[in-house]
């Protein structure tokens, strides 16, 4: 409940403040958002599996974001930033779909 509320509050704040993304953050923000989305879907799945743990969620959320940003940063340094970004998006996308499928099975039984 608080998590859903928090999501709404965050969206509201973003719409309200409309901050400009600082330049140094621009390459990492989209990938961080995707990573966080993956963590949230994972958390939702765990909740439905009955194995949700706040601590695991927090850690996986933060580590997902940090690692994703780190990999992209590393890719930028190596000159393969855009390719690595694509790779991470693909991997996280697959995971999000897998989690979504699990959630769907739980809620709809199909």
């Amino acid at each position: 409940m608080i998590a859903a509320l928090g999501l709404l509050v965050g969206i509201g704040l973003g719409l309200l403040l409309q901050p400009a993304v600082p330049l140094w953050l621009q390459p990492y923000l989209p990938i961080a958002v995707v990573a966080a989305l993956d963590a949230v879907f994972g958390g939702l799945r765990a909740l439905l599996d009955g194995i949700f743990d706040d601590k695991v969620f927090v850690v996986s959320f933060l580590s997902n974001v940090v690692i994703a940003a780190l990999v992209v940063f590393l890719g930028d340094q190596l000159g393969v930033g855009s390719q690595l970004t694509t790779g991470i998006v693909v991997v996280l996308g697959i995971r999000i779909f897998a989690n979504a499928a699990a959630i769907r099975r739980h809620l709809l039984g199909a």
């Binding site: 409940m1 999501l7 973003g14 989305l37 706040d54 809620l107």
Partner: protein, 243 residues
Amino acid sequence: MVDQLSARERLRSSLRPRATRRQLLTGILCALLGFALVVQVQSRDDASVLETARQSDLIQILDAQTQLADRLEDELADLQDAQGEFLSNDDQQRTAIEQALERRNLLGILAGTLPARGPGVSVVVDDPDGEVTATTMLGAVQELRNAGAEAMQVNDVRVVASTYFADGSGGLVVDGVGISTPYQIDAIGDAETLETAMGIPGGVIDAFAADGVGAGISQRDEVVVDAVRPVETPEFAQPAADS
């Protein structure tokens, strides 16, 4: 089925707010996610098409722009050529007009259709008794013309190629117009030469003297020949083919 039910129950139970520290932390993280999501989406909205375009698209766009620029440059060059042409045409036209005006002035002076002014001489023939003959007057005009007079008038009659002199009952008749004494011939030309031509022995002055009248000649810095003739369109003569 049991699984599905229990899953729904778990979802429902999780929606009950529990203000534990960890729940709060989860909420904050979700808020962060929502915030970042919105910010990112909006920054993409702000970004121009070019920023989000793929490399191949960018290359195509660049290519199109380059071609467009090339075309426009070609067009610019064409238009500049055209402008140059127009300008030079304009120049040529202006030169032609200037030449035509000059020619008109020249011909106007020669044909007597324009008033003229310039250095020259004035010959005054004091003839109270009307003793000067047309022949003498014609001789004077011929002599002046030979000496290089460019424009002449006798009293108020412009002397041109077709001018004639005749003896009338009350004096001389020039081109059908009777003129009264004293006769004054104004001639534009080189004053020195004109005066010399008038004064040579057996010349015009002597001829006037032979007619029994005195003639005075004076050089002037500015002689005004302001009598003009109407422009006459030739009735029979046509311009021959232009060379």
